[in-house]
């Protein structure tokens, strides 16, 4: 800082812009980002009064809130009882925990023949280096199939609750629905777009890596799918619906989740059926440690990953008051 640059030269440097942004005299968004103010919520004065009057009448005449001793008493008792109940339940659980077997002790009942076989024979029996994946996708695959159906049914429920029907208006103005959040969102945010350009490919690639290596290293379908879903959400935020619609629509969601769940169902049904009837399953386990190994686990991981990614993305889209 010994030499001071002349003012004109200083104005060209990045430090100048940075300090201006820091002091608040320049807004980098201004003129760059397209923003629309939300429409003001207009309500007729008369309807407000009418609604208020009804409410007031209900309060004063029907319940007489201020002088209704029973109601006041009820609210007090309710609050006290709720607090008491929560404290009692928490206390009870803490009390119980103090009686449970000590954590980390070698003679806990949990350390029995079940985890012993998982640890000792897991590699030979499932072909998965990551024992956890071997457990959830081979030993206890039925539970995991149920779990991926939980995600599916959760998406269906969210669709029932929040899905708006765009097709209803046939004059092509469906996109201009006032309740749709899309038109109010800031677009073309330069910083976010620059960041997303770098991050999204890395995030999605990492997600794919986690899924594909689920049987070799920590990770698997659930975590990898969540990572991919996060990448898709970031991409959506940076570039808007117009771009993501090229990649992901409602149809894509349907096709992907259908394909994934069907593959899982058919693959595992074969394995369940042969297993229960003591027939030999003709799926090779491969050499442990290779990417193409451990029988069905890799396929199932991919299926679970796709379902999870779709679920994450669909939830996000639905909760923005919109469609795909």
């Amino acid at each position: 800082m010994s030499k001071l640059k002349p003012q004109k030269e200083y104005e060209k440097t990045k430090a100048f812009h940075f300090f201006r942004w820091l002091s608040g005299s320049k807004d980098p968004y201004l003129g760059e980002v397209e923003m629309k103010p939300q429409k003001e919520w207009k309500v007729e004065e008369s309807t407000i009064q009418e609604r208020m009057r009804e409410k007031q009448m209900l309060r004063d005449k029907v319940y007489d809130v201020e002088h209704n001793d029973k109601l006041i008493f009820f609210h007090k008792v309710y609050a006290i009882a709720a607090i008491f109940f929560c404290i009692a339940l928490a206390g009870l659980l803490l009390y119980t925990v103090s009686y449970l077997p000590e954590t980390g002790a070698a003679d806990r009942p949990v350390n029995n023949e079940v985890p012993a076989r998982y640890i000792e024979n897991g590699l030979q029996e499932t072909g998965a280096v990551n024992i956890v994946t071997g457990m959830i996708l081979d030993y206890r695959a039925f539970d995991t199939f149920g779990e991926s159906n939980v995600l599916f049914v959760a998406t269906v429920t969210v669709l029932i609750l929040l899905h708006t029907n765009k097709k209803k208006s046939k004059d092509g103005k469906a996109d201009e629905e006032p309740e749709n959040d899309r038109i109010y969102e800031p677009k073309n945010d330069a910083i976010l777009q620059a960041g997303a350009k770098v991050l999204v490919p890395i995030i999605i690639l990492f997600g794919i890596y986690v899924i594909l290596n689920g049987h070799l290293s920590p990770g698997g379908g659930f975590s990898g799918g969540a990572i991919i879903g996060a990448g898709l959400i970031l991409y959506l935020n940076a570039f808007g619906f117009k771009k993501t619609e090229k990649l992901f629509t409602e149809k894509t969601y349907k096709v992907i989740s259908f394909a994934a769940l069907t593959t899982y169902c058919l693959a595992k049904s074969y394995s369940f059926y042969t297993g229960a009837n003591h027939m030999e399953s003709h799926i090779p386990l491969g050499i442990p440690g290779h990417i193409l190994s451990s029988g069905l686990i890799l396929v199932l991981n991919i299926c679970v990953g796709m379902v999870v990614a779709c679920t994450m993305y669909t939830f996000y889209v639905m909760f923005r008051k919109g469609d795909f």
Binding site: N112, V153, N277
Partner: protein, 497 residues
């Protein structure tokens, strides 16, 4: 191993797979798939039931290549097959009876989603019935809960959404308690497989260690499942959820979803905790008292209602109370009566819901009693069906409700400590039942001079009328030929232990 032993697995996987398939099919095809899958699951269960009666013993079925404590396992006995068969019949009839209402009240683009939910609900019910593993049970309890929320919300107005939110909060509290219970039980025993847990629990009881956590575990699991099946003090979510959702949802929620949880509780009592250990704990008395209170307060609430659907919903609270009273007696006879009441209540309550919708439809859609006057003349089939349902609920001989009340009374007489309260409350509750159901029946059969509403003939509601006839036949069959079914239940419970 016989091929028939695969049937539980087939029915579970088939219904799960059909849920996935329904998401890509057109609306009508999805409806067909739903109907066919439910029927096929029912037929498979029937064949399995006949096979099991023939062999006379239950069996376990390995899900995959690994034997039980390591892999998953399901188990089938007479009681499981009977329950599965019954659930399929009720679901099929509820869907057929409510089909027209579904078309009227739900946006067409969401019908597919509804069929997905129904198929997954069926799969979760079947899995809850057949499972032999506590964690598998929990996974399918989750599917059941979420699907039930969707079933309530499918008809979108403020009331149903509020009801669904309420249901979700209460139901998740119940799931949480169940999960805590399962975690503690795993910590104490080191197993998730039901039969292995039972061995360990017997060992714990013999050694005398871990008594306190075991007691808390039993309490958590019982209360969790009681909340989910709307036992009396936890029933606040029920009237709105049953009263405002579309009719097939209401019928399925009242007769299948809550019954699935009760069946799971019975399974836990017999196959996880052990009947004697559960009997020895104080929890059983709590369930007994709550059951008795539910029988009275549910009926009192129902008398106050001026809305026929909510009245039927509150009647469910009372009937759930009966079932818990039977469980709370702590005897084999009480348990048999409870299982029979699950069947009889499921058959009757879905009949009542479906008949009530026919009556309100010919009264301008109003559910108030004043508008329902003479509704049975305008829709004769629904009127007769509602009367049959009411008589069965009150406990008139020839109908299924009579048999379950008889069984409850017999069970109460055999139990010395709990005989008096059980019999007194049973009598009071029967009178209260009669008050509100007979009031409704008299109301719908009161002739009106000039009705402002049009009546409906058989031609315009063929499917609906046939469904009602099937329901009535089911009810009368349960009422007249009850002895073979009671024998089956007793054999099934013997297989449980």
């Amino acid at each position: 191993m016989d091929f028939i032993q695969n049937f539980p697995f087939f029915s579970i996987i088939l219904s799960m797979f059909s849920g996935t398939v329904c998401s890509v099919l057109p609306r009508k095809a999805a409806r067909w798939v739903n109907t066919i899958v439910v029927s096929v699951a029912g037929i498979l269960s029937l064949i399995l039931l006949i096979y099991l009666i023939g062999t006379g013993e239950s069996y376990t079925y390995m899900m995959g290549h690994f034997p039980a404590p390591w892999g998953n396992e399901i188990r089938a006995g007479i009681l499981e097959a009977l329950m599965a068969l019954f659930f399929c019949i009720i679901m099929l009839l509820s869907m057929l009876g409510g089909r027209k209402k579904l078309d009227d009240e739900v946006v067409e683009s969401k019908h597919n989603l509804y069929y997905i939910l129904v198929n997954l609900l069926l799969s979760s019910l079947l899995a809850l019935v057949y499972t032999n593993d506590l964690f598998t049970a929990y996974v399918f309890v989750e599917i059941n809960t979420i699907a039930a929320c969707g079933l309530i919300m499918i008809r979108q107005n403020g009331r149903t959404i509020e009801a669904a939110v309420r249901y979700m909060i209460m139901s998740l509290l119940g799931s949480g308690m169940l999960l805590l219970g399962i975690c503690m039980l795993y910590d104490l025993t080191g197993h998730l497989l039901m039969s292995n847990i039972k061995e360990s629990v017997e060992l714990i009881m013999a050694e005398g260690t871990y008594h306190v956590p075991l007691l808390i575990t039993i309490a958590l699991m019982s209360v969790g499942l009681a909340i989910k099946s709307a036992l009396f003090p936890f029933h606040a979510w029920l009237p709105d959820a049953y009263g405002y959702s579309i009719v097939s949802s209401a019928a399925m929620l009242s007769s299948l979803v809550s019954k699935g949880y009760i069946f799971l509780l019975m399974k836990i009592i017999y196959r996880v905790i052990g009947f004697d250990v559960f009997d020895g704990s104080r929890i059983i008395d709590v369930l007994f008292v709550f059951g008795l209170m539910g029988m009275i307060f549910g009926s009192l609430n129902a008398i106050e209602e001026n809305d026929i659907r909510r009245m039927i919903a509150f009647s469910s609270v009372a009937q759930i109370g009966y079932i818990y009273m039977g469980i709370g007696m702590g005897t084999q006879a009480g348990m048999t009566a409870s299982v029979f009441h699950i069947l009889s209540h499921a058959a009757t309550k879905s009949l009542l819901f479906i008949a009530a919708i026919g009556l309100t439809d010919v009264s301008g859609g109003s559910r108030k009693f004043i508008d329902l006057t003479g509704a049975a003349y305008r829709n004769k089939w629904a009127g007769v069906a509602f009367m049959v349902g009411s008589l069965s609920m009150v406990g008139v001989p020839m109908f299924s409700g009579f048999i379950s009340k008889l069984l409850f009374a017999q069970a109460a007489v055999q139990n010395h400590g709990k005989m008096l309260p059980a019999l007194i409350v049973l009598a009071i509750s029967t009178i209260l039942n009669a008050i509100y159901f007979m009031k409704t029946v008299i109301r719908i059969y009161t002739p009106v001079e000039e009705s402002k509403y049009e009546s409906i003939t058989f031609k315009n509601m063929k499917l609906y009328a046939v469904t009602l006839v099937c329901f009535i036949i089911l009810n009368v069959v349960l009422g007249i030929s009850s002895q073979p079914i009671v024998d089956l239940i007793e054999q099934g419970l013997a297989m449980f232990a």
